[in-house]
Symmetry: C2
Subunit: 338 residues, 2 copies
Amino acid sequence: MATIGIKEIATLAKVSPATVSRVISSPELVSKKTLNKVKKVIDEMGYRPNRIGASLRTRKSGNIVAIIPDITNPVNAGIIRAIEQGAQSAGYSILLGDTQNLEERERHYADLVLAGQADGVLLFCSRIPFKTDPNQPLAGQLPPLVNGNERIDSDEIVQVAVDNVAAAKAAVEYLIDQGHTRIAVVTGPDDVPSSKERLEGYHYALQGAGIAIDNNLQLAGDYTAESGKSCAEKLLLLRDRPTAIFCFNDEMAIGVMKLLQRQGFNVPNDVSVMGFDDIHYADLVTPALTTVHQPLHEIGSTCIKLLIQQLKGQVVQPGRQFLPFTLKIRASTGPAPR
Amino acid sequence: MATIGIKEIATLAKVSPATVSRVISSPELVSKKTLNKVKKVIDEMGYRPNRIGASLRTRKSGNIVAIIPDITNPVNAGIIRAIEQGAQSAGYSILLGDTQNLEERERHYADLVLAGQADGVLLFCSRIPFKTDPNQPLAGQLPPLVNGNERIDSDEIVQVAVDNVAAAKAAVEYLIDQGHTRIAVVTGPDDVPSSKERLEGYHYALQGAGIAIDNNLQLAGDYTAESGKSCAEKLLLLRDRPTAIFCFNDEMAIGVMKLLQRQGFNVPNDVSVMGFDDIHYADLVTPALTTVHQPLHEIGSTCIKLLIQQLKGQVVQPGRQFLPFTLKIRASTGPAPR
DNA sequence: TTGTAGGCGTTATCAA
DNA sequence: TTGATAACGCCTACAA
């Protein structure tokens, strides 16, 4: 197909290329009459403006790169779906940067911005994948960027998430209300900021109730169901078993339940299990999982909204923005056995 | 930041812009000495070539658009992850086109190719989102394109999937082997080609075993757990209940199990339940779901491989390419009750 | 092996 | 309201 461009359209419509360009990008500057004339030719020829040409000139790609540890995680998938919607309706496209949690790949995708292939970054991990000078303020060294769902230790960055401390605290307080005092946690990996925050919340709740912290009841998993199972095994080996287990994601909670059931324990009569995230399958598992609901759609749409505001040149207040969590009480928790 | 380009580097390295360009894109054409000299300057300046400029010139964006009905579906997420890996290691980026099954959005994302923003399309739905002249052969009217996991009725298109007919047939034959004769199916929506194929497989298996087809045992769901539940309800209302239920995806199978259990039925002692897909949670549900395993990673990597071959100008044989499925026998199926 | 020069398709500036 | 013209950043004949 002989490439057809703005010039050909201009010739056919007997106007200048500039006018055709205006018809495409700022039709309000063109008279009704020429507008229609040009539009007709565009239609007849099935002409599509070449975005690359425009990008080169405007220095705007119209793309946003989303850097995500794992698209296979339902939490991330839910967020991404919302992002994609927000982006599309603002005329942006999403470049998918699934990084498998590898720093190298995070940088690779961040580089797309430096190469002009993307105008901004949505970040869902806890590292900043750009070279920065620590002596300078961060602002000015970074492209438009929003961090979602995971904490970065800087108040110069726009961040959107649930208040993990408060959420975990609320979850544990609920268990305490149910009469539990031996409450175990299965955390995420030690170096994950959001996991640290949830652990804090757990501690606050225990302290608030005057329950001593028992390090034997704190186990680190890696957010997989398998790790949930092995942590549950360790907990069952304890002389004084917990009556409730709070897992820092649903996946591990499901693993914990699986193992408990396999060993003949009844959830929740013998042991209560609580998750975090409220993924779709939390409600489909048996017993249905009590968990902390994260507003995935809202997280995603807020992230993309704040990024687009930046891309439009609006000033966005940096710092963390908390979205409301809710406790989803289902069937996997109950009163402590006596 | 004053935009730094190939010219600035050239000046600093005391070579011509052409040489800098060669250093970037075809270093084998440059002498070792100048190569190092230029590379050093590039490094020192932290220069990143602008991809848009190159794209305009080469008419290649380096992007591939993946058109997917729903990224939230674990099947799609698994495929996409493999695609992303294959794309990245070949130097391509993935533009995410989550369409919510809307034809309008499919076209929107397909348009990215026409706008030069993407070089090829990965399609995971059953519509061709391009205007084509039905009187002409398809080939030549379409950009580089691979269809995955869903059937398009044309042998001019490169397609990658599991053999749905054979897979469904194998699944039902397994149930027949277990002594079941009243085997119900919960299909996908009527207009989904892969669902039709699975239904065919079901019919073949029954015919092969001399079991009459009973239309009361064929219910259409919409691939949600909810629809699985309501189909299960209808099946329980039947005078002659099925002893096995084959669902065309795991999600519905999980819904079916949930409802059966709620009504006091034991799975698999009273009713066997079989799924399709083998999503991650199939193994985490209770009882663990027997299902047809789809090789998601292989589907994704094959799709991207075939597309990249096309993009490199290699000729790819059109037509369907089948990837091997396997039966994953777990705990939700058993012998027919007597 | 390197340099010169033109152009990819669009938009922005300026003048008409 | 429209048109002429010069970029945007890079690549690639072609010439040296």
